[in-house]
Symmetry: C2
DNA sequence: ACCTGAACACCGTTCAAGT
DNA sequence: ACCTGAACACCGTTCAAGT
């Protein structure tokens, strides 16, 4: 209800929202701080208070992306039946839906890190990895997955999901193939078990 | 031996070479047509004869990348022993070495396609996919891989390799873990066989 | 056929100054 | 604490003109 004559009061959130929309509709290349400022009706230097530079904006987008993906994955698993294969399939489906809907964002989340030292992963990325790790451990407990170091199996599952996503977002595979790819992935990880 | 006073004669190749080096050492963001022209000692508008725009340069880089990756993969497979698991391991190792050495290039090769219509894949990408498809078919013939549509299994293997590569280039996994990841991948695809 | 030079519109980034 | 306005150095892209 503010007229925001000078202080916007909400600028950071507005910029992030606009950025997510532009990212989805136009891709990373088209994402410009000046353009975002323009859309928010604010001077071109204003965003600097909230994002030190363009990379900081991209980092914030990636962070929010990890948080949302973790949420959607957990929700999908929670909604699935007790059957382990169904839970695994639900998780994979949620991951790939995210990839199809927000491919540019997912690319950003797994983009080459700038060589600015051994920066720790964002907490939201850890949440995603933890959720998938829990799913792996659960599968091993019910003997639906092969035994062995759960961290290694988790990494392999994340890699497989991310790889399928990369094939789809890059146009090397059609979104229509994702159903088959999910089925094959579940079969590969749970083969000869139950 | 030319003094190249006006016509460079070799500009396209020089630009591509410089671009590959910059890509490896500085990343895509730092890749600029003007800078490349400067390094080649040529006017900033000269590259336009050879690359219509920046995207055309990136496409050419990706194309050359696919060709080189296909070569390295074929060479690694040819050098491996007759044992099928060894061949699969050799292929995966070559793929991940490429990812570790030229992560930015691999990112480029699997970057989101610009929405400029249903462009056909470059022939070099097809060569890579064909090489991996042959490896899959061979594995099914000797019963080292599960039966089923070889195209689907091929897509899944490419996805797994590309996913591991993405985890490594993004810093989500350490290059030191690639050996374990390769072993786990081979075990997953060949489990309970021979 | 290939390259130059000037020009245009757009960036990211910085910094004094305003409220 | 947050935002403005001018300034700087850099892009990609275009196009007439040169060789």
């Amino acid at each position: 209800m503010a007229d925001r004559p000078y202080h916007h009061g909400n600028l950071r959130a507005v910029l992030l929202d606009e950025a997510q929309r532009t990212l989805r509709e136009q891709g990373v290349e088209q994402l410009s701080l000046r353009d975002l400022a323009r859309q928010a009706g604010v001077s071109h230097a204003a965003p600097r208070r909230h994002f030190h530079d363009r990379q900081a904006l991209l980092d914030a987008l990636a962070d929010a992306g990890f948080a949302r993906l973790a949420d959607e994955l957990c929700a999908a698993i929670a909604d699935a039946s007790e059957d382990y294969e169904a839970r695994l399939r639900a998780a994979a489906t949620a991951y790939l839906r995210f990839a199809i809907d927000d491919g540019a964002l997912l690319d950003l989340m797994f983009a080459t890190k700038n060589a600015s030292g051994p920066t720790a992963l964002p907490a939201s990325a850890t949440r995603l990895f933890t959720a998938i790790g829990d799913l792996i451990s659960q599968g091993q407990e019910v003997d639906a997955l092969p035994p062995g170091d759960p961290a290694r199996l988790r990494l392999l599952l994340v890699a497989t999901l991310q790889g399928i996503a990369a094939l789809i977002t890059s146009g090397r595979a059609d979104p229509g193939q994702s159903h088959d790819l999910i089925a094959d992935t579940v079969a590969l990880f749970t083969r000869d078990r139950h």
